[in-house]
């Protein structure tokens, strides 16, 4: 039996039924990591010893009945921008090459409480800035479907690790599509919850008002189950929201009868690959067959989302990343004569080009004389985009669309043209600007055999609706043998 091809929930069930021990599951994961890692580079840090000793501890708790949740004993990979006590946390940057946190991110703590066993920390675009996982200081991650292609980003290591069975599931973070887009490129299921659902405490911030942690998994059932484990109200995060309920798995029903689904016409624009468009239309068709009502509508403002996003995210990033200065932790340049030279050299040597570009862009839009023209205007645009979605959700339960205009590009083809790379975020970033939940579900393959993701977007706090729609769609795809 190949334990690593099971979903997280299936594996958890076998562990609970004593068909598989936690140690067997963890060893199976490391066996897969050892055979694939040199080719794919999904991980920055692998914590085998800690995982094996944790496995024993978890097994005891399962045996004595103190742990009985669906994720107990299931091996997980964590994106390297979430703090883990005593374990290197680099954000895939040189500037944090030696940074070992003294506390663990709340979302990771929640997973530990659920009994999941952490295998290691996954590769990402440096400080989550990028769409390809090529900006990592620790080398690019490869797409398991075709190693000439990128896995997407910024949570590329997490998505590739799930796709390559190098873990049962993973945590990612999504500021402008960083969970959904790599999930789409790697043929796995990834979900960004409503802003405030999962605590950001311990998540090393990129764009604080947009960042959200979420699951990357093998199917919709896993996603809902993981979200149930990691979501919590956390008083340590002032933007954390006390939700009425944290039940997501009850939405896993194959029933979309009467569900109103809207497809923004604005999404069907130039640059959208015909194969991706066909996959979306196929999804619409399958949902219609199950009784959903699908229609096209004008979302408007779509084209303004990209500039608004890059202004806001970079502004916040320029401030969030100021603390990496060589004074307290992380990399410090070996040679300097005085303070300002130390700052300059540390940051010049410690950050990669994409991070520097965004820090400069963010500093510029906040500088005096430009604040109103750029930052304030971007905030107003953000508010208008939220209004446009509010209006749409008066009519529709779920918005259906692509995750990305194309399937995964080849390695090396994106970074030379950052504007083009930014434009690829068009379908994901407005969801972050509006704080909405979104899910990427596998929707078939292109002619080159690369996965295509389908995105479903819900209104704030309506994860259940997108889980239900995604689950029904997934069942149809499975029945048709297309996934």
């Amino acid at each position: 039996m190949d334990l690593m091809s099971l979903t997280a929930v299936e594996l958890g069930r076998k562990i609970k039924a004593k068909e598989v021990t936690v140690e067997e599951a963890v060893l199976a994961a490391f066996e897969q990591i050892e055979s694939k890692e040199s080719e794919l580079n999904c991980y920055v840090t692998i914590t085998k010893e800690a995982a094996l000793s944790k496995a024993k501890e978890i097994q005891e708790k399962i045996d004595n009945g103190t742990l009985n949740g669906p994720l107990a004993g299931v091996p997980v990979a964590v994106k390297d921008n979430m703090c883990t006590t005593g374990v290197l946390t680099t954000c895939s940057s040189k500037i944090l090459e030696n940074f070992v946190p003294t506390f663990t991110a709340e979302a990771v703590l929640n997973l530990e409480k659920a009994g999941a066993v952490i295998l290691g920390k996954t590769n990402m675009d440096e400080f989550a800035m990028g769409s390809t996982t090529e900006t990592s200081h620790y080398g690019a991650t490869k797409n398991p479907w075709n190693t000439k292609h990128v896995p997407g980003g910024s949570s590329g290591g997490s998505a590739a690790a799930v796709a390559a069975n190098e873990c049962s599931f993973a945590l990612g973070s999504d500021t402008g599509g960083s969970i959904r887009q790599p999930s789409s490129y790697c043929g796995v299921t990834g979900m960004k919850p409503t802003y405030g659902t999962v605590s950001r405490y311990g998540l090393i911030a990129y764009g604080s008002s947009l960042d959200q942690i979420g699951p990357i998994a093998k199917d919709v059932t896993d996603c809902a189950t993981i979200l149930e484990a990691i979501a919590s109200y956390d008083p340590k995060d002032s933007t954390s929201i006390k939700r009425d309920d944290y039940d997501f798995t009850s939405a896993l029903v194959d029933d979309v009868k009467g569900m109103r689904i809207g497809i923004p016409k604005d999404y069907m624009i130039e640059g959208l690959s015909p194969e991706v468009k066909e996959a979306i239309m196929n999804a619409a068709h399958l949902l219609e067959q199950k009784g959903a009502v699908v229609e096209e509508f004008d979302l408007s403002l779509v084209q303004y989302a990209i500039p608004a996003y890059y202004v806001i995210a970079c502004a916040e990033a320029s401030s969030n990343l100021a603390r990496f200065d060589g004074v307290k932790y992380g990399y410090r340049t070996p040679e300097y004569n005085e303070l300002h030279e130390m700052y300059k050299r540390t940051r010049s040597e410690g950050f990669g080009p994409e991070v520097k570009r965004r820090i400069m862009l963010g500093s510029f839009v906040l500088s005096s004389g430009y604040y109103d023209a750029y930052y304030l205007k971007a905030l107003r645009t953000k508010a208008l985009i939220k209004q446009a979605f509010d209006k749409a959700f008066e009519k529709y339960d779920v918005i259906l669309g692509p995750v990305a205009p194309t399937t995964a590009p080849e390695i090396g083809s994106s970074l030379s043209d950052p504007i083009k790379m930014y434009l690829g975020d068009i379908y994901t970033i407005s969801v972050n600007l509006a704080g909405l939940p979104g899910i990427s579900v596998p929707g078939g393959f292109d002619s080159n055999g690369l996965p295509i993701g389908v995105q479903m977007i819900g209104n704030c706090f309506e994860e259940k609706k997108i889980i239900r729609a995604a689950y029904a769609f997934e069942q149809s795809m499975n029945a048709a043998g297309k996934n």
Binding site: M82, C83, T89, C91, L96, F99, P101, T102, F103, A105, R200, Y201, G202, L203, I204, A205, G207, S208, S209, P235, K236, D237, S238, T239, A315, E316, S318, S319, A322, R323, F324, D325, V327, K328, Y329, L339, Y343, S363, L366, S367, S368, Y371, Y375
Partner: protein, 475 residues
């Protein structure tokens, strides 16, 4: 020379008296070993997030209400970005766009003239850490114990015209804030700091002159000196046909001079923007009313009450209400012994004398009102004489001793036993024939010497009235 008018506005930073920091649960206590009152939040660790201390908002609101400000119902925090090693995140969480209080005023009085000084705004922010320069090792160390200690910054309008008005304004703020218990406002220790913005213009001119900002002012005296110095410097520049440059200057109190720190041209761009890690603070009518109802009795009300309730003279009431600490001691001690004027006398005379001698502020007083009340009772009952009482008071002031025990242990009880006194006096008369002779010849003063000698024999414990009486009788 033309006549000039000085225009002054103040930025006053006050460290709030909360037990914990503004955005984390760390202690604000002074004097801990370096970096012991710290956590991931106040050391700017990656992944940490701020959570607002509600007490900070309540203190800021209380100060705002006491200074007649409008409270901002939806107030927000902003980030002020600048690089410096004492600032762990390299941004300070402060308020620029929606400060908690706006448009207030306080009333001051200088030489009998009343004046209202406008308050532009009051905002909340976090303090920075402290750099310690190790000259020996040629390196700098950072102590983050103060990082995240809550501050409010009170920004006045440019309404002051003299150093006297500035001091009166600062006194008024200090008193108000102390009465609120929001801060101890000790300038020397840095819990109250003032930056002075100053410009001069020809008397009667409609426009303000170019201003400079003076920093590093650690006492009211240095503020007064700095204003005088800067006013003269600016007038001299103008008189000699030069221009005042808008700049920040640092006052050197030892040299009584200032030097330019940075000009407007190299002023930093702080790139303020709304703090995304905190949500807006929504302040309801109910919350404001709750704070308003908790406002204490301020100085003017207290002065009136002391005169009315305790029959204190104006002079006493003014001195005692001059600091909250003295007023608190006065009220507590009076409540115990029921002798307001006597308590007042101890505070106004002996307490003030020792404070001055030791260069201490009333806030530094450590003795308890209970012990002062006991002392008042001992002196009032004649258990100790006034000389002994002063000695006991010193011990109370210095070590907060229990006067009953102290008097007992040091055998200081006044001797009222007539037999013992008579015996001592007879001895003194016998051994000082010259003085006795002088007195009998009409030199009234000689009796003083004999009283002194008797006190000496009685080791200072004799009842002076009885000594006088018996002496006269025996002579």
């Amino acid at each position: 020379m033309k006549e000039y008018e000085t225009v002054i506005g103040l930025e006053v930073h006050v460290e709030l008296a909360t037990k914990t920091k503004i955005f984390c649960g760390c202690s604000t206590a002074f004097g801990g070993a370096p970096n012991t009152h710290t956590c991931p939040v106040c050391t700017g660790m990656p992944g940490s997030l701020p959570v607002l201390n509600k007490q900070v908002v309540e203190y800021a609101m209380a100060v705002g209400l006491a200074t007649n400000c409008e409270i901002t119902r939806n107030c927000k925090f902003d980030r002020k970005n600048y690089f410096y090693p004492d600032n762990p995140q390299n941004y300070q969480i402060s308020q620029l766009y929606y400060p908690i209080c706006r448009d207030g005023h306080v009333d001051i009085e200088v030489n009998g003239t009343k004046k209202s000084i406008g308050i532009h705004e009051i905002h909340m922010e976090e303090d920075a850490g402290k750099l310690i320069h190790d000259e020996w090792e040629d390196c700098s160390l950072v102590d983050f114990n103060r990082s995240g200690v809550p501050l409010i910054e009170i920004v006045s309008e440019p309404d002051m015209r003299s150093a006297e008005e500035v001091i009166a304004y600062l006194e008024k703020l200090r008193m108000t804030i102390q009465y609120l218990g929001a801060s101890d406002c000790k300038m020397q220790e840095g819990s109250m700091r003032a930056d002075v913005n100053i410009s001069v213009r020809e008397a009667g001119a409609a426009q303000f002159g170019t201003r400079t900002e003076m920093k590093n002012l650690n006492s009211f005296k240095s503020i007064a000196r700095a204003i005088e110095g800067e006013k003269n410097r600016q007038i001299e520049l103008i008189e000699s046909g030069k221009k005042v440059v808008q700049e920040t200057r640092r006052w050197d109190d030892a040299k009584e001079t200032s030097y330019a720190m940075r000009s407007k041209e190299d002023a930093q761009d702080y790139r303020y923007f709304p703090e995304p890690d905190l949500v807006p603070v929504v302040i309801s009518d109910e919350w404001i009313e709750k704070i308003r109802s908790r406002q204490p009795e301020f100085r003017e009300e207290k002065m009136a009450r002391y005169k009315e309730e305790f029959g204190l003279p104006d002079y006493d009431a003014e001195i005692i209400t001059g600091t909250k600490k003295l007023a608190d001691i006065f009220e507590a001690a009076t409540a115990i012994c029921g002798k307001p004027k006597k308590v007042s006398n101890w505070l106004m005379v002996e307490t003030m004398r020792i404070l001055k001698e030791k260069e201490m502020d009333p806030e530094d007083i450590t003795f308890s009102p209970e012990n002062l009340a006991k002392l008042v009772n001992l002196a009032d009952a004649g258990t100790i004489n006034s000389t002994a009482a002063k000695e006991v008071f010193e011990a109370v002031f210095n070590d907060n001793v229990d006067p009953d025990k102290y008097v007992e242990e040091h055998g200081m009880k006044q001797v009222n036993d007539e037999g013992a006194l008579r015996e001592a006096i007879e001895q003194v008369i016998a051994s000082n024939p010259q003085s006795v002779e002088d007195y009998r010849n009409g030199k009234e003063k000689a009796i003083g010497f004999l009283v002194g000698q008797t006190m000496k024999v009685m080791k200072g414990k004799a009842n002076p009235a009885m000594v006088n009486q018996i002496l006269k009788e025996l002579l």
